[in-house]
């Protein structure tokens, strides 16, 4: 026979209609001998029903017109569109970063010293608070590459 703690978990499942038949039977056997859990089951069913039937409050009369104006203004500022240049700049930064790394690594590997060691290179990726994204490599030889990418200040824009 299950105890009260398990019974209360099953009661929640029963209210939602998700309880399997064997678990329903197990719960019934417990409720047959436990007044406290019977009362809890009653409470769960009735309170859930009351809340589910909470009457909706109608939308304010001006809601749609006011929101529509705000959405129009946001669209004019460039929001809400896949063509939004801010969104695209965020998407392109990792692609550009990968291209920059390749631009550095390929020349370096062709000019590896005879003992097999690659020229030491430091690649730092820094995103200072101002939103500047820089991928730099120090000049190791004539073929080393320095790539600097500048992201716009919206790189750090807040997420919803």
């Amino acid at each position: 026979m299950i105890g009260c703690e398990d019974a209360r978990r099953l009661i929640v499942g029963r209210v939602d209609g998700t309880l399997s038949s064997p678990l329903n039977h197990a719960l019934d056997r417990h409720l047959a001998v436990c007044g406290a859990c019977r009362e809890a089951a009653d409470t769960q069913h009735v309170v859930s029903s009351i809340l589910r039937h909470r009457p909706d409050e109608p939308m304010p009369a001006m809601f749609w017109s006011e929101l529509s104006e705000r959405l129009d203004a946001a669209r004019k500022q460039g929001w809400g569109s896949a063509a939004n240049w801010r969104a695209w700049s965020l998407r392109l930064v990792p692609v550009a970063a990968a291209a920059a790394i390749l631009a550095f690594v390929v020349p370096q590997s062709r000019h590896a010293r005879s003992d097999g060691e690659l020229s030491t290179a430091l690649v730092s990726l820094a995103v200072p608070p101002g939103g500047l994204l820089a991928l730099t490599a120090p000049r190791a030889d004539d073929d080393s590459a320095m790539v600097v990418l500048l992201a716009n200040e919206w790189w750090q824009e807040e997420r919803p």
């Binding site: 769960q44 669209r75 809400g80 569109s81 939004n84």
Partner: protein
């Protein structure tokens, strides 16, 4: 397939009409979520508009890792939290101020047996009961019972485990019983505490 999927795809691609249709689908749910959660403590109209405005600004970055509904509810909860923090006060239920001839409030008058039938009185009674819950319990029981979200979706919206959602739903409903008892003719005895013990059934209690 998610019922919103084709609209969301179009909205992400920049279709204003598709986004507007999503607003139509969800405006009443979001507005009443805010009303039930805040009991009038925040401007539900403003919070709902802000929710859709934020969603509009972010829609191009929506990746479908959750359903649109989950994503939108998460935005709504964040906007509500921001508004509450800005106001810097606990949620309160705003009731109309005119006292009756015996000094009772409009809510008290509305809870007379005749007025219990009215939608406004019933909704206010429910929202008042919800407002008395701790915020973590209020959020979960509102999302579950008022809004009809599944436990997994509530867990995703609030960022908590499903087991926590289930246990908080149980506790919230138990705590709501005294406040809602008058709506169903219960005695206003609180929930029974303690472990498994034989007790009288309701029928037996009626005869005792």
């Amino acid at each position: 397939m998610d019922a919103d999927e084709s609209l969301v795809v179009d909205a992400v691609a920049g279709s204003r009409e598709a986004f507007d249709e999503l607003v139509v689908r969800y405006q009443l749910r979001i507005y009443n979520l805010v009303r039930a959660m805040s009991g009038g403590g925040v401007d539900a109209d403003d919070v709902t508009q802000e929710t859709f405005l934020r969603a509009f600004r972010a829609i191009a970055r929506f990746r479908g890792e959750s359903t649109f509904r989950t994503w939108l509810y998460r935005i709504a909860m964040n906007v509500m939290k921001t508004h509450q923090e800005q106001r810097g006060r606990r949620l309160t239920l705003i009731v109309s101020a005119e006292p009756g001839e015996h000094g009772e409030s409009a809510i008290d008058r509305a809870l007379s047996s005749e007025d219990l039938e009215s939608d406004v009185a019933r909704r206010d009674a429910i929202d008042r009961a919800l407002a008395d819950l701790p915020e973590n319990l209020r959020a979960i029981v509102t999302l579950r019972d008022v809004q009809g979200l599944a436990y997994e979706e509530i867990a995703a919206v609030l960022g908590i485990p499903v087991g926590t959602v289930e246990s908080r739903v149980f506790r919230a409903r138990q705590r709501l019983r005294p406040a809602l008892a008058h709506l169903v003719g219960w005695s206003d005895a609180g929930p029974t505490a303690g472990g498994c013990a034989p007790g009288l059934s309701r029928k037996e209690r009626g005869r005792a």
